[in-house]
């Protein structure tokens, strides 16, 4: 369709009719605010005085019904729709790179039900997760989802890119924390996934939409699990001479019980970030463990932890560092503590079984440091399973090119190198930050012919290709 002033205003009036005039905006400030998210390239671009692609219209529906109306209008006119939670994503997944409609979910922030018996809170997916946590705390419970972006991301945002929090080893990832979801399909139909997960009524519909990054539909309501607050949460920090010992010890530990927090820092991150924030000034690999739950069990689990880690030469640093880390767990991410422009940086998180994860770390470290000597490589391992772990590896370039196009070229080259190395050694494109526009080009490299499953879903559900174009490699 050829867009002109007349048609623009016609479409605008239809959208205003759908969501209310005050919730439909063409204000420059609204377009600007939605044009930059946490993606380094978008930040760099505006830092250099450039302007990122902007939506033509920003709409804020209050519920699934209004969302449905918006999608029907968008489908009729074949206008791109990009869904935005709070913009805290690092992969450019919420950026309206194709223009069109930006659908901000934050008006869908109602807490519909707090169900103690069913152990969930039903809420609009535009709710900031911290608010859900506060609602749970109010009745003595917790969501047990504590990512660093807890205060600045929505329920829908976490679901859209399969987020994870720091106590994931015990309580699970976001896909473990959701029961039923309400989803608006691209054609405007409103559907509900099954009333409970873990069923045998065919494949789980939740899993089709979780991680789909707004390319297959818009999640508008979700039942998020709540947990009884632990009687006790104990911390214990350790120093391993090398990471191999830490991996072996952790794998063995996870065959016995699940701690809540497990974070292993490589020697480079131990001597930089951990030294700065936590104050550990030692060589080696720092590891922080938290055990929580019923006090009697915590007592037993702590003994198992100490015995297991001692066997692998870990030095017990006591509880103080762990407690400090817990207190500061969000502090890391405030301006002044976190990497920021003018530095170039990225987190290439990937996941693999134990037989591959350490190999991936060393291969990525070597690939980045060899091919990009201007980059520093640091890493930690912060989400653990009985079968494997994720590596949160970062590159930092202190003095990237000033020219924005050159900076983009270098940024993308480092990313391609790092992720391809992970893939070649048995990893995946990403663990919990998602794909977005940043890594879409690498999805086919990971999945090969399996990508046709996603493409088939996309074609069937979104035949006009309006939903979040150029994201997820779809």
């Amino acid at each position: 369709m050829q867009m002109n002033d007349f048609m623009m205003n016609m479409i605008l009036s239809e959208l205003e009719d759908a969501v209310g005039r005050e919730n439909c905006s063409t204000r420059p400030i609204d377009k600007l605010a939605h044009s930059v998210d946490y993606f380094w390239l978008s930040r760099m671009w505006v830092d250099r005085g450039g302007r990122m692609p902007e939506a033509d219209i920003v709409v804020s529906p209050k519920d699934a019904t209004e969302t449905s109306k918006v999608l029907k209008i968008a489908n009729y006119y074949k206008i791109p729709v990009t869904t935005w939670g709070a913009g805290g994503g690092t992969q450019g997944g919420a950026l309206p790179v194709a223009g069109g409609i930006l659908l901000d979910t934050k008006r869908m922030n109602k807490i519909h039900e707090i169900n103690i018996e069913g152990m969930y809170i039903e809420c609009g997916t535009g709710s900031i997760y911290k608010h859900i946590e506060l609602a749970a705390n109010e009745i003595g419970y917790s969501t047990m989802h504590f990512p660093s972006s807890l205060c600045c991301s929505t329920v829908g945002g976490f679901l859209a890119h399969r987020g994870i929090g720091v106590v994931s080893t015990k309580y699970g990832k976001i896909d473990d924390m959701v029961l039923q979801m309400e989803v608006v399909l691209p054609n405007g139909d409103i559907i509900n996934t099954s009333s409970a997960p873990k069923h045998a009524a065919g494949p789980d519909l939740n899993e089709i939409f979780i991680g789909s990054e707004g390319t297959l539909g818009i999640i508008t309501k979700a039942q998020m699990r709540i947990f009884v607050q632990p009687e006790e949460r104990r911390f214990r920090a350790f120093l391993f001479k090398d990471m191999t010992g830490a991996f072996t010890a952790s794998r063995e530990l996870l065959q016995k019980f699940k701690p809540s927090v497990m974070r292993l820092y490589d020697p480079a991150e131990t001597s930089s970030l951990i030294k700065k924030i936590i104050g550990v000034e030692r060589d080696g690999a720092f590891m922080n463990i938290a055990i929580e739950g019923v006090s009697e069990l915590v007592e037993v689990e702590e003994k198992i932890l100490l015995d297991t880690f001692k066997k692998y030469g870990a030095e017990d640093l006591g509880s103080e560092y762990g407690e400090k880390w817990w207190k500061e767990k969000l502090t890391f991410f405030y301006p002044g503590n976190m990497m920021d422009i003018p530095q170039m940086f990225g987190t290439m998180d990937t996941i693999a079984p134990y037989d591959k994860i350490e190999k991936i770390y060393w291969a990525m470290k070597e690939a980045i440091e060899t091919n990009f000597p201007q980059a520093i490589f640091i890493a930690h391992f912060s989400h653990w399973y009985e079968w494997g772990a994720m590596v949160y590896d970062r590159f930092i370039v202190d003095n990237p090119p000033q020219d924005p196009e050159e900076a983009m070229r270098l940024h993308n080259a480092i990313w391609s190198c790092g992720v391809r190395t992970a893939l070649a050694n048995g990893g995946v494109v990403n663990d919990h930050h998602g794909v977005g526009i940043k890594l879409g080009r690498l999805m086919k490299e990971q999945y090969g012919p399996a990508m046709q499953v996603f493409e088939g879903l996309k074609k069937e559900l979104d035949p006009n290709g309006i939903m979040n174009p150029y994201k997820l490699g779809l």
């Binding site: 005050e22 905006s25 204000r27 420059p28 400030i29 609204d30 600007l32 605010a33 939605h34 930059v36 946490y38 930040r43 505006v46 830092d47 005085g49 450039g50 302007r51 920003v58 804020s60 935005w84 709070a86 913009g87 805290g88 901000d104 934050k106 008006r107 869908m108 922030n109 535009g126 900031i128 911290k130 608010h131 506060l134 609602a135 705390n137 109010e138 972006s149 205060c151 600045c152 991301s153 969000l330 502090t331 991410f333 405030y334 301006p335 002044g336 503590n337 920021d340 422009i341």
Partner: protein, 362 residues
Amino acid sequence: MTISEKSKKTIDSCRFCWMCHHICPVGNATGQERNTARARALALSLVNRDALEFSDDIINNLYECTLCGGCTNDCVTGWDPIVFIKEARTEAAMNGKSPKYITKMIDALEATGNVYGIKKLDSELSKEISLLPKSNTLLFLGMDARTKVPSAAINAIKALKKSGVEFTALADEPNSGWAMDTLVGATEETRQTMLKAASVINNYKTVIVFDPSDAKSFIHEYKEWGIKIKAEVKTFTAVCAKALADGKLKLAKSNTIYTFQDPALLVREVGESEEPRQIIEACGELKEMFLNRKGTMFAGNLLMTEYLEDTMKLIAAKRWEDASRTGANVLVTACCSEYAVLNMVKPENMELKTIEQIIVEA
């Protein structure tokens, strides 16, 4: 833009930081991304880089901020978005770019001493003031109580009398300068307004400040301008709480369950959170809202209702949701302006009272 280095640094820190997203009352109530510290900082950072015009749209967005300090309070690394928002408002004023709804209030302020353009004091309040004796203690009622919520002003007078405090009040009270500072920041007009108020206040030994906004100005902005207040500044709630502790104020405790809305400026800028609670707990049971004390969520003010009435109502309605979850029967406020906005959207199943009202009634 001619803004300070401190503001420029804050803008460049806040533009890419999302950490206070959850705490902005306007952002949470409206669901609009522009109502965040980072959106305002992003726009101003582009203005500073000559990549964006300092347009009416950006300036309007500056006036959507309540200056409640939630983001500042929440920032663990100490950035203060209020600094650059106020400086940018000043910049707009200096360049004749203030929005019409702002200049209208400034004109009214200069003509009548209040932003609402109300010329006459409420007759009942006027009578109450005229009956007060001369004293070296002044009750400073403030713009909003005098013009928009006279019932609160009258109850404040009655509550202080009940507390055994000897005081007077002024029929022609000067404006504290808070409103001008909010509208255009640190301009010469603001300074002159404050100087005028100081010259009146300094005739008294003690000033009991009823409105937390005025208390904040007397304590902070006057110092920043180097304007001396010789009089001892005390808040209304602190004076009543002291009288209660000294046994001069007697309150009858009932079975009523209260919850309390901490006024953002009282708790964050004046540092007062326990005094109102001591009063409420003497009147009944207090059940806290989850976001309380310094973490309070602003619930609206009258000045902004002049140009953003719907937004103020949304903010107040959001806070009523928090209040209703406590199971309390009565929401108590210690700021008459917040009371007035909360009253606009009061749910039927709860009561709303000012702290001076419960003192008078208990």
